[in-house]
Amino acid sequence: MAMIEFKNVSKWYGSFQVLKDCTTQVEKGEVIVVCGPSGSGKSTLIKCVNGLEPFQSGSLIVNGQSVGDKATNLPQLRAKIGMVFQNFELFPHMNVTANLNLAQVKVLGRGVEEATAKSHALLRRVGLIDHAQKFPGQLSGGQQQRVSIARALAMDPIAMLFDEPTSALDPEMINEVLDVMVELAQEGMTMMCVTHEMGFARKVAHRVIFMDRGEIVEDATKNDFFGTPRSERAQQFLSKILHH
């Protein structure tokens, strides 16, 4: 069974439909890149996975649990799905270690020492152990985003969601974040990434989903997508972001 399975998921803001009958799935260990023009619903789609955005019709099964079902314990489900945001969203009043410890202690019930050991191991891994005691406001954007990836990994997630993780970064900081993501992908992490970093997609994605106006227009393997995208809209999009 797929780890994440969308079936005809639709969502409206008032009378405006932001997601139209979206159907796709993510297998365990798969890396999916979701791209498309702004306002096409990619962020909304990915936020449905952990229930941050509710949807009105269709079904969405994550790790065997129905996200839309009222009986589903959303906090419990979210604890297993890591998420990284465009604007990092670290908690500004806590230092880096405390940011990583919070959910480990409050959600997983780990002791502070155990949590700190885990946090420091992850900070070492993303190259930020020297900044463990600093506050988010004292770090660069790239550093904050790496902390935020470490914060998600601290929960030992079964899948990771990335919502435009490099869009708010200066060009020279993008690679330090992408490097961490590539490493994760190569280790076999299940990943769903909204991103326009086509280099990243080429390198590690298994499939690419292209969205436009709330619809999944393309859902193809990496080679098919970059080789012969079927829809005209996807071709236009690719020609715009690849050739300049």
Partner: protein, 241 residues
């Protein structure tokens, strides 16, 4: 100006006029601090209630805020002192009028406290709502429950953001406490007025009262600045400096 009259024996009570001033300061501080405890506690609860999307929480909180902040403070004083004892059950009303110690003090505390609570509530609400939604999303995404998000993120950050306006509110409560003289609390302004009637040193005594109010509020400002500095978030944009 001649402040010599302060050390003269007062018209009644056996002490000097300075003792009357000191007693006035004591009541000003007591009314204000007790009222602030009520205002801060109830205001915080109401402010949080107004930020939720649960109708039975934000509905009553909104009703409270609109009712209490739209009635003049003076009317609050009269209602708590004159009206409330008449509309509560008979035995309680009789006790409030005859048995309750210091009825004017408690009426003033409740009036000032509940009135200021509506203003504190709005500040707490605006503090919480000024935190970007992405922050709440990020906290929820790690598996925290909504109450935990309030406890560990929205309240600690929200309070930090509204320390400056809360300081103003805290100052206002000391100044507003002077309205309590209308229901017979002998706080600083009331004492100044009485002393001026006995000594005709109107200019001196109100100058003294003014200086005392300024000293009290300056002390509050200093304490709140220390608090602000203590909880300042390094590198956070909102904290300036």
């Amino acid at each position: 100006m001649d402040f010599g009259f302060l050390t003269q024996p007062a018209f009644s009570g056996g002490g000097t006029y300075l003792d009357w001033v000191i007693s006035g300061v004591k009541w000003t501080l007591l009314v204000s601090l007790c009222a602030w405890v009520i205002a801060f506690t109830i205001g915080s609860v109401l402010g949080v209630m107004r930020t939720t999307r649960v109708a039975w929480l934000y509905g009553p909180a909104t009703a409270y805020v609109e009712l209490f902040r739209n009635i003049p403070l003076l009317v609050h004083m009269f209602i708590w002192y004159f009206v409330v004892p008449e509309i509560v059950p008979n035995t309680l009303g009789t006790w409030m009028k005859q048995g309750m110690p210091m009825p004017e003090f408690w009426s003033a505390v409740l009036a000032l406290g509940f009135y200021t609570a509506s203003r504190v509530a709005e500040q707490v609400r605006s503090g919480i709502q000024s935190i970007p939604r992405g922050q709440t999303h990020a906290a929820l995404a790690t598996g925290l429950t909504m109450p935990q998000v309030y406890r560990h993120l929205l309240l600690p950050m929200g309070y930090r953001i509204v320390i400056p306006p809360l300081t103003s509110e805290f100052l206002t409560i000391f100044k507003n406490s002077s309205v309590a003289l209308t229901i017979g609390v002998l706080e600083l302004t009331a004492q100044a007025r009485t002393i001026s009637e006995y000594t005709f040193r109107t200019f001196e005594i109100f100058t003294l009262a003014t200086v005392v109010y300024v000293l009290i509020t300056m002390a509050v400002v200093v304490v709140m600045q220390l608090l602000e500095r203590r909880v300042q978030v390094p590198g956070y944009i909102g904290t300036g400096k």
